[in-house]
Symmetry: C2
Subunit: 441 residues, 2 copies
């Protein structure tokens, strides 16, 4: 009854075999642990939402990027979540009055985009989201960026490997105003500006021309956007004043001072080329990139002070970011910072405590499952050899290959030998003493 199908995972999705899943968990556990020490509480929402949760914010244009569907015979249209912010805004708005101010939330679920898969961009991916709601301070912006930075530091990255590029919607708007773009048309330009670096300069200039900006102004805009500089107080203030006369220069000064306090400023640069395509940002925006500009953005976020209201909640300042697993894992691999499978297994607490087998006598054979069960009930990770051999030497090799700390050889219905596979030391103990004996070590 074999089938004529060859079944495969859908394009742009992944099968996670054990070592793949452990590599993903190595990243997501770093995210989770970083979130917790920074005082964020974990939440989650449905994997799919009503489609209009996304269209109310982003317009109908987003529909082609979504996996949307209806229940058979149902009238409502749903979509797999492409990002977390609308769910978060909906959840916050529903309980705004009962929630602490500030509220600090994180999550690490799966998201979905119906786009053509490319390097660093899949149709299903895991993304970490951190958000601080109800706090409009520069300090909140800095803490949020520092939280992202600390997760990267925990994964072995340094400011040589990655850079946080920081901008501000106010500064971007000033750049556009200086080039003669009316405020009503700024939103149209954000989508175009967000493409810088992804499309050629010629394509940018042509697209800007279609929006009504002449080529010399577009070239100047590109030049300003390409500047990526460490923040140095007087120099940067002068630059900002020239490029974006009404820009939030004081904001940048305060932000970089706060980042400095959090020991994160070395990771950060000012780059007015960071715009973020999404319409909902209202203030600071940032992206984290591989330092040489390789790969897509590792993370992106910013301040969105008007979104909670849009979802029916009270006016609530908010700042957040998302960091996906796909690009981050590529950067870790490219930089040689993804630990080996064994190292990851050790860090995730997956190394077996004991491999259990018998010396080959029938009464010992019969006791192996019982000893394994007793160890497991004590919280010890006990494996049994899959080898059918009765050769104790071969079984010990098998235990070493499984990287068990101890081999437990059942010798009779009363005695077992415990062998420390690192030191080679061994000891005979009564069967009933095996769990407490291993527990102590």
């Amino acid at each position: 009854m074999a089938s004529d199908h060859t079944f495969q995972a859908p394009t742009g999705t992944r099968d996670f075999y054990p070592t793949d899943l452990n590599r993903l968990r190595y990243v997501t556990e770093a995210w989770r642990r970083t979130s917790i020490v920074h005082g964020f509480d974990q939440i989650d929402g449905p994997t799919f939402e009503h489609l209009d949760l996304y269209t109310v914010k982003s317009g109908e244009g987003i529909v082609s990027e979504l996996f949307s569907f209806e229940r058979a015979g149902g009238e409502k249209t749903y979509a797999l979540r492409p990002e977390f912010t609308p769910t978060l805004a909906r959840m916050y708005a529903a309980r705004a009055n009962a929630l602490p101010r500030p509220t600090r939330w994180f999550c690490t679920p799966s998201f979905f985009r119906a786009e053509r898969p490319q390097r660093g961009r899949l149709r299903e991916f895991t993304q970490w989201n951190c958000d601080i709601l109800g706090d409009d301070s520069v300090q909140a912006d800095a803490e949020l960026i520092a939280c992202a930075v600390e997760s990267l530091r925990a994964l072995g990255l340094s400011p040589e490997h990655v850079k946080v590029r920081i901008s501000h919607r106010g500064a971007v708007e000033q750049m556009l105003t200086k080039r003669g773009v009316e405020p009503e048309r700024h939103a149209e330009y954000f989508g175009l500006l967000d493409k810088v670096g992804k499309i050629s300069n010629d394509a940018f200039i042509e697209a800007a021309r279609k929006l009504g900006m002449d080529a010399p102004e577009a070239v100047k805009l590109l030049a300003t956007m390409a500047q990526t500089t460490r923040y140095e107080a007087p120099t940067t203030q002068v630059m900002l004043h020239q490029e974006t006369p009404g820009a939030p220069a004081e904001y940048f000064r305060a932000l970089f001072a706060a980042l400095d306090q959090l020991d994160a400023s070395e990771w950060c640069v000012l780059n007015l080329g960071i715009v973020r395509g999404l319409a909902y940002y209202t203030g600071m925006v940032f992206e984290i990139h591989e330092a040489n500009g390789a790969e897509r953005a590792i993370a992106g976020g910013g301040r969105y002070d008007r979104l909670i209201e849009l979802f029916g909640g009270p006016p609530t300042p908010a700042v957040g970011f998302g960091m996906g697993d796909v690009v981050l894992s590529l950067v870790l691999q490219d930089r040689g910072l993804m630990p080996t499978d064994d190292q990851i297994a050790d860090r995730l607490g997956l190394r077996p405590d004991a491999m259990i087998f018998s010396n080959g006598t029938p009464e010992a054979d019969a006791l192996v499952p019982r000893v394994a069960a007793a160890l497991r009930r004590e919280g010890l990770h006990a494996r049994r050899s899959a080898k059918s051999t009765r050769n104790v030497g071969k079984l010990l090799q098998d235990a070493a290959k499984a990287r068990a700390r101890f081999a437990v050889i059942v010798e009779s219905d009363t005695l077992a030998t415990i062998k420390d596979l690192a030191s080679g030391r061994q000891e005979q103990v009564p069967i009933g003493e095996v769990p407490p004996w291993l527990r102590r070590l």
Copy 2:
């Protein structure tokens, strides 16, 4: 720009606020830890699959229970996964030759059913799956059941609260044969038999009549299926011989002996009423139920020795189960076994190590973020009070309310007071000593 929509989660899905998410994690972490100590490796697959992955196994009938969709402009039809076994079979078949024998896999992702939501049955739920592939032994069946049992024991349940009801497709077939049902028609009956306990006896008798079984035989069948007995060797063998003359009586004897060795037999009963609706089971089948029969099944599974072949792999014996979070959480709540939110937070390692605030002087204020960042970089969970007061007494109350272990009061740019909030003891230490001081405790 407030919207006229009131946004809500789709019917049958859940928003997980922090305490909800922690309760879910309390359950999933028990599953994960139990899986690991039992030697299972974690895997995962895509959240959606090609629709035909499900129809090849279950026929077109399943489509109405699925959330299925197409990509805009795409030709392939996808479905949100309603269960894990087809994904697991696909993944195993694709790498069968490279995988160890036996392979022990687990996962705890979300699944989706487009049914009407009911108590214990939602449209999105989390489910733990454990499978042993490449091992046809009774011992594998017993270890799999014991793994499910140990997770329940770890969550505080006992054999008084829940029972594992065990049956065998061979025994069910014999019951049908004894009632005059031809082997070719057994599959038709499995779906009906699976409804016992969910529909009335009258409805069952009427449905059986439509399949061609007369009422007296249907009544006898119901009586046999209702028997739920502890396995006692001679008595049970006689019963099995009477009810299902060709039944795998020897199999049950060996299974219960193996369960006894694993200290799990007290949780288990023989119940030929367990059929499992799915067509793919070939041997032992089981369900775990609340002991009084309240709620739907907590878990269900069994042996499926022909499925891997159906997905293009080599003939591979396999046994597995799924356990959902929804019914299990209801049972824990009903039995008063769901710990308090504080207890869960403690078990998940979420209790703050330190709450940091200043004594109110400007130089101390300025140092608070720096001290918090230093603690976090050491892996310590540091929170800052959201209170804007400068009243140290109020701030200490706030720290106690957040259940922080220590309050760190920055006193100047060189000194901090560390107060143990349990004992009330306090000590002044140099600012730079705060992280190692807390690390040691």
